[in-house]
Symmetry: C2
């Protein structure tokens, strides 16, 4: 008789893994390699990697080919816009090619995801500048690692009237905002987006920093 | 002035998405295509797909090439073992090529993942048979869609003395176990793994079906 394999309902892991970390190996080599590739992705654990790889094995060949092509194309074709450093497959991104966006405004964001978040508001119609991160002395990220020099040059060359800083309210975001404000104020007006209570946010559940920011940023009722 | 983009701490989604489902589009085409490929995977939402795609953009070219190669190789090289239907890159899988495993036992499992779970116990040293699923009339899966005929043939041709059913304790698992037991009992002895309280499981928190199974499967203390 063999001893019974304990039954673990659902996807829960056993408390005592029979052989520790290598618990999920054992698949044929080409499949193990694919599982390994998925496991390298952030936030993908061994169980998820296995699930995704086994799913793909069941897909039609064309689907796998499309995935592989998309991977290679994205890596080889996507770079940064020469002007604003937004992710782009062209030397100039879609936004920078729109003449009407050269309205004297530049909105400064940390990365392309933040740029797209701003775009989704549909309330901003000017140009952008993607810094590529935030100043963070703790992580060794100084201003020289960000696209700050190109921003200064653009403010000068493009006749920018307002720089709008749209950086997250955090130590790094605030440091970067202050740094940029001091650097740019001699040449242009500098503003930053408002920080406060989010729409639909309950005052009672708001953290104290958010509430302090909301109080600080209060405006007269019109 | 532009209106403020509300600040959403962490990765929480805004309660009121500005434009619903298409909230995350807007990336340059090759990148959008890669994000789309990730979104097709089970359990991967738009936010995760975006995070994975942006992560890969920052990896070295070789890493992306390795991922694409692994995808294509897994799909083209991995099939089923001709004998036991375990996922295999060879006509016969590693386990079926081990002579010492032809010991008269076959352990029947629903899929390759269950086979590997059994292997991790290191307590079973016989052959396997992968059914490719469980009988499920609700989902239109009848016995003819599973590798049951090949199992009957193996029992006959390989001189199998014991078939061990290692199927999950569920309606489908029980139906399949009963079906197989009735089919195979004229030719060989049929057993099934024990169902009961998992190791480390608290009796007080065990669900009643598990506890009923444990009671039903009680054995004399030796």
């Amino acid at each position: 008789m063999i001893s019974a394999a304990p039954f673990w309902p659902g996807d829960r892991l056993p408390r005592f893994a029979p052989n520790g970390g290598t618990a999920l190996s054992g698949f044929t080599r080409p499949l193990a390699r694919l599982i390994d590739q998925f496991e390298r992705l952030p936030g993908i654990g061994p169980r998820t990697a296995q699930r995704l790889a086994l799913h793909l094995l069941r897909q039609p060949e064309e689907q796998i080919q499309a995935f592989a092509d998309a991977l290679l194309a994205a890596r080889s074709q996507v770079g940064e816009c020469q002007r604003c450093f937004h992710l782009s497959a062209e030397p100039l991104c879609d936004l920078c090619r729109q003449e009407e966006r050269r309205n004297g405004q530049i909105c400064v964001v940390a990365d392309s995801r933040d740029l797209l978040a701003m775009e989704r508001t549909r309330e901003y119609h000017g140009a952008y500048h993607v810094l590529g991160g935030l100043i963070s002395p703790m992580d060794g990220v100084g201003p020289e690692l960000l696209k700050i020099q190109p921003l200064v040059r653009r403010v000068d060359q493009e006749g920018i009237e307002e720089v709008i800083l749209a950086l997250t309210p955090s130590v790094e975001g605030d440091t970067t905002s202050l740094y940029l404000a001091r650097l740019l104020k001699p040449f242009t007006s500098v503003s930053r987006i408002a920080y406060g209570l989010p729409m639909g946010g309950e005052l009672e559940y708001a953290d104290q920093v958010t509430l302090a920011r909301a109080l600080e940023g209060r405006r007269p009722v019109e």
